[in-house]
């Protein structure tokens, strides 16, 4: 188990907000084992990420903020997210994702995991620690599906959309795979580049018979139909993982009927 050492207070270089981060023994171990002798502790901060570099003695060796992280030059390979980030997840109690050629590993664990579910695709590796599991086969399907879509979208994915993708994985991990949800990860991982464009005529027609489709989430459908021109990421950024899954399912539902289309910005 990680033992809490101390807290470091810092100011975000971009938004100037004050925040704090906990440095635990696992962080110190990671720093000791890292070739650079430091480890980055990441704090998601709105549209950017603050990274505090910590050495093996637990000292603050600099603070930087990044807009995307993936594709940017970062002085350390391992980025650790503080465990409170896991509050956004329902099933995952930890994850580690290695972006291979991007030379970055992002991890977030409450406790040092003894067993993880692991999936690999090309140069990408994903390890997750779920608190429940219906079937290994189902979990493997979703993890593989996530990695495949990430592999395709990695050049257009940033830290925030990657985390959103993981949140979506969190809400799907125990659900049976369905053919009609196959683009969910793709659109989520690209959500920072896609705008929702609503076809008014199609939307008008769809609303005429929406009541005949009682399984749809009307509030979410209405939100999507009112979001013409909005960046997809802005629509999902504050959602928890179950809501995001419902949102993405609804979005795919409307996209399949031409009620909305997703345009690259």
């Amino acid at each position: 188990m990680y033992i809490t050492k101390h807290k470091i207070k810092l100011r975000c270089p971009i938004c100037r907000d004050e925040c704090s981060i906990t440095v635990d023994s696992a962080t110190l171990t990671s720093a000791r084992e890292s070739p650079s002798g430091i480890v980055g502790l990441a704090i998601p901060h709105g549209d950017h990420v603050v990274i505090v570099y910590i050495d093996s003695k637990g000292r603050d060796r600099g603070v930087r903020a990044y807009r995307t992280i993936i594709g940017e030059t970062i002085p350390t390979k391992l980025l650790r997210l503080t465990p409170d980030f896991l509050q956004k997840f329902a099933i995952l109690e930890g994850f580690r994702i290695s972006l291979g050629m991007r030379n970055i590993v992002i991890e977030c664990f409450n406790e040092e995991p003894t067993t993880v579910l692991s999936s690999k695709y090309e140069d990408l590796t994903l390890e997750v620690l779920p608190n429940e599991l219906n079937s290994f086969k189902v979990a493997a399907y979703w993890m593989n599906s996530f990695l495949r879509e990430l592999y395709e979208a990695v050049h257009n994915t940033d830290f925030r959309t990657l985390m959103k993708g993981l949140m979506l994985l969190d809400s799907t991990l125990t659900s049976p795979p369905t053919i009609y949800t196959r683009n969910m990860f793709k659109f989520t991982l690209l959500s920072g580049k896609l705008s929702v464009v609503v076809d008014r005529d199609a939307g008008r027609l769809f609303m005429k018979y929406l009541d005949l489709l009682p399984w749809l989430y009307k509030g979410i459908i209405n939100k999507i139909l009112e979001s013409n021109g909005t960046l997809l990421l802005d629509l999902i950024k504050n959602m928890d993982s179950p809501t995001m899954k419902k949102f993405m399912e609804s979005l795919l539902f409307l996209e399949r009927r031409g009620v909305v289309r997703l345009e690259v910005r």
């Binding site: 196959r182 005529d201 027609l205 018979y209 399984w215 399949r256 009927r257 031409g258």
Partner: protein, 263 residues
């Protein structure tokens, strides 16, 4: 909204389209009785939408496989008008088939190109046999599976076209449905022929075909989109008889011909 206004919109949009299909559709418009009234609001709205989208749809090689057509099809097939047609077909079948014969439990009910899935959904409420669908187009498969999943209807999926179904079938077939609007864009003769070839002896065929009638409100729309299976009552009778189907029941209802038969 009046039907006359929808037809006028269709006509003006077809004038902007340069295709042989558009020209034939214009001729259909000239023949149609404009004062005809359509009372079902979803039919009115779906046709209005289709009339608006004709210029875009005309650009597609297969407009019936487009998102726009999917939206139209869902709205149209959920209308009371279409549901009554479907119920009428089922009633025909109940009178002609189910009261006298049951489909053995080891045989499946299979639908060609189910579109929105409303057809197989109606049959699933009556029969307890395993259900199956034939659809090779991935996005249309997603479209129908979504509805069936939400309705808790389990189906076997054959992701092939109707011509290849014989190669992949894993169960004996007791009934074939040819009822969705997507089937209007395939040769009816081919569909019926294929249905007869996969049906077990004593198996049933249930279909809804578009009626080839000058006053069919759907005709100009579907002609503009490339319909392939318009037929008259007589033509359909000849077609079904040529397949040596017995206990045939064929009748005109509104814009459609409903038919049932036994192999």
């Amino acid at each position: 909204m009046r039907f006359e206004d929808i037809i006028e919109l269709l006509r003006s949009n077809l004038e902007r389209v340069y295709s042989p299909r558009a020209k034939i559709a214009m001729k259909c418009i000239e023949e149609i009785e404009r004062s005809r009234d359509i009372s079902d609001p979803l039919v009115v709205e779906s046709l209005y939408y289709l009339a608006k989208k004709i210029p875009v749809l005309s650009l597609y090689k297969e407009p019936w496989r487009s998102k726009e057509f999917r939206l139209f099809m869902e709205c149209f097939t959920l209308s009371d008008y279409y549901r009554k047609i479907l119920n009428n077909l089922v009633e025909m079948a109940i009178k002609g088939i189910f009261r006298r014969a049951k489909i053995p439990h080891d045989r499946i009910v299979l639908e060609f190109y189910p579109g929105s899935g409303v057809g197989i959904e109606v049959v699933s409420r009556i029969l307890t046999n395993k259900l199956a669908i034939v659809e090779f187009h991935r996005r249309d498969l997603e479209f129908v599976m979504e509805r069936l999943a939400y309705q808790n209807i389990d189906v076997i999926v054959y992701e092939v076209d109707h011509m290849s179904i014989g190669d992949v079938l894993s169960y004996p077939v007791g009934m074939v449905l040819i009822v969705s609007p997507l089937t209007w864009f395939y040769s009816l003769s081919e569909l019926v022929d294929r249905a007869c070839s996969i049906l077990e002896r004593g198996g049933y065929i249930l279909g809804i075909s578009l009626l080839d009638n000058a006053n069919n409100i759907l005709k100009p729309f579907m002609v503009a989109l490339g319909v392939r299976s318009l037929s008259t009552l007589k033509e359909l009778e000849i077609l079904l008889a040529s397949k040596h189907l017995s206990r045939m029941n064929i009748k005109e209802v509104g814009e459609f011909i409903l038919y049932t038969g036994v192999k």
